[in-house]
Symmetry: C2
Subunit: 382 residues, 2 copies
């Protein structure tokens, strides 16, 4: 049985499901104009909602994350949830104190309704008939879960990368439902460079014959692994790759002069690609990356400041110095728009060599910020 | 008939071929330990070698370049050579004054011996039986061409990107054969990040069923286009993509909510991928990118300075501020190694938003530097 370092028994959590939208009125309206029926959200909670309802923290996962944010499903689980270093009893997001909620996004492949779910209208897998969803659509589904859980207002909506995009959408769409928002290593809109990387990844999947126009039985491994390897490069920094791999060879002191993997970085990417194919669905990958492509908080407004016009939340915006996927200037853009609206905003660029992945790795420094910010917010909770 | 802007008749050039290496002694020895027989180099020259032999400028092309550096093959050619703005009568590399030589690299697909050439030993296409070549091997072949052309010493070896790598190899391998070297937007070794991008591109090609383990009759278009689109992103900068495309949509004012190309940047990449497949061979792409992966001038030495220990050339090193493929610090590394050897070295970082592609686009500022540097070098020619 796995035990925590400090001798505490492992934190056990149970995946739960909430399904809604079986009727025309209850179905989830989407940005594309369609509606989603019979929507399931897979979610997990840790801790207890206080009688005052002032301690609910919504955690929003990134592209390849899921509802399993922390703890273990079974005592002998080899690995805990994806942000276990940040979330748990006594940790920065202290589950002795806060009621943590995390749900798998719609479009996902870890329990929530997505392209590999059964379309209730046909009894068959959606696959490409699943509607193209947006970050706002993900958030609209989470709002239903919030109501289901009897939460009036979140103390904070916290997320890194695509999780940060959802956090920003919470501030825009449901200003009365978030006391504070913590967007980490994120952006208010995807840049053309990021759209371009997504495009190349999606082409790799779509041109894998095993993808079969989305109607596969086995994950199209080569295409999906290629897309993942590419994305993975954008999560690291030049500096971290130099430090981690340099030009080290995998198995020999001298070049093999072949096309097989020879450099350590090639083996690493191969490994990352293979592991990803085991746990993530190709159609889900297409839908979720497309949702990020379409993410532009200012879309439909004159500018980003106008998008935040109704927003009431306090903000803690965090970026990382070596993140070139969502560089600090993109966080600055968010901060400037918040300040134009006279919103309270703390902004910190954490010096880190880890690139975009820093939001998962710089737990100590990021955690210290979040811990104090949440503490302040709970005092101010209205 | 196409005429130059100034009313001059178009500069006409003729591709030429030089074949060598039919015997054991004359065959080209390669870094991998094999030898290449019956090697053809496709090349072009412009201008006239001076009686003193002090005016030969070797131009070294980048990954997707070829021997056709400037001018036109026929008066009605729609487009001139790839560096026509830099090279020609009265231009920065003035062909009224200099004798310009440019050859297609071995491994290439524009006339020189490469994986799609006939293996004289079997009478069949090499394909994957072509040996894995290196940047140094490309340069060894160019040395044979130099001898064939009766050139004792180049006034300068000039190249951007992979052309710069070849220029550096000239300085290391043949110190008596280059009066000066102009490495532009290049590096002394490929970083793990660049190796990683190449790896993803090569996987896209190799997993295209049309590639057929290298034994194709038609270029594997999807894999090669995917590899090219990815590489193309690394040639641009975040800034230039923002300026050129932003989040502009291709055909409509509103999102199509589909997986088809919707953003202008997606259409642009598609176009670049398609065009590349028409003009470049997939196996060549694998071989040439692999040559760059293996490029590390310091390999086999204690450090980069030691690699330049025998070097005698003067250098003009140029980088571009927004080039994140081969950023300025990689040029600085070259400059420091040159200075340790007390070599003459001019170094300029040109402020440009064009990213890596700046070496093809910032003709005016780059040209002014090269023009003056060559002029100085010719005065010093020994």
């Amino acid at each position: 049985m796995t035990t925590e370092k400090d001798g505490q028994p492992p934190l056990l959590v149970q995946p739960q499901d909430y399904t809604f939208g079986w009727t025309e009125e209850d179905a989830l309206p989407l940005d594309c104009g369609k509606k989603l029926y019979g929507v399931n959200l897979r979610y997990e909670t840790i801790g207890t909602l206080s009688p005052a309802g002032d301690n609910a923290v919504l955690i929003l996962h990134a592209l390849s994350g899921d509802a399993h944010v922390a703890g273990r499903h079974a005592p002998d689980d080899r690995k805990p949830g994806w942000w276990d270093e940040m979330v748990g009893p006594g940790k920065a997001i202290d589950t002795n104190r806060y009621f943590v909620v995390c749900s798998n996004v719609i479009g996902g492949c870890a329990g929530s309704t997505g392209p590999r779910s059964i379309d209730p209208a046909t009894g068959k897998l959606y696959n490409l008939s699943f509607p193209v969803i947006t970050i706002a659509d993900m958030v609209r589904a989470q709002k239903r879960l919030m109501e289901h859980l009897g939460i009036r207002k979140f103390l904070a909506a916290v997320g890194g990368s695509m999780g940060g995009m959802q956090a920003l959408e919470w501030a825009r769409l449901y200003p009365d439902c978030v006391q504070s928002v913590i967007p980490i290593a994120t952006t208010s809109r995807l840049s053309p460079q990021s759209i371009a990387f997504d495009w190349v990844g999606s082409q790799a999947i779509r041109h894998d014959p095993a993808w079969n126009n989305g109607e596969y039985t086995e994950n199209p491994e080569h295409g999906l692994a290629t897309a993942r390897m590419l994305a993975h490069i954008t999560y690291l920094s030049d500096e971290s790759m130099n430090r981690k791999f340099g030009r080290e060879l995998q198995e020999s002191d001298s070049y093999s002069f072949s096309f097989e993997r020879d450099f350590a970085v090639e083996s690493y990417l191969e490994h990352q690609g293979r592991r990803f194919v085991e746990r993530f669905d190709a159609n889900s990958y297409l839908y979720i990356t497309r949702a990020t492509d379409y993410f532009d908080l200012a879309n439909g407004y004159d500018d980003l400041a106008e998008a935040f016009a109704g927003t009431k939340a306090d903000f803690l915006v965090v970026s990382f110095s070596s993140d070139w996927l969502f560089p600090t200037e993109q966080s600055e853009r968010i901060v400037r728009a918040l300040l134009k609206n006279r919103l309270n905003c703390s902004f910190c660029e954490i010096e880190s060599g880890y690139g975009h992945d820093a939001f998962l790795l710089e737990v100590e420094r990021l955690g210290a910020l979040i811990r104090d910010f949440l503490d302040n917010q709970q005092r101010k909770f209205q």
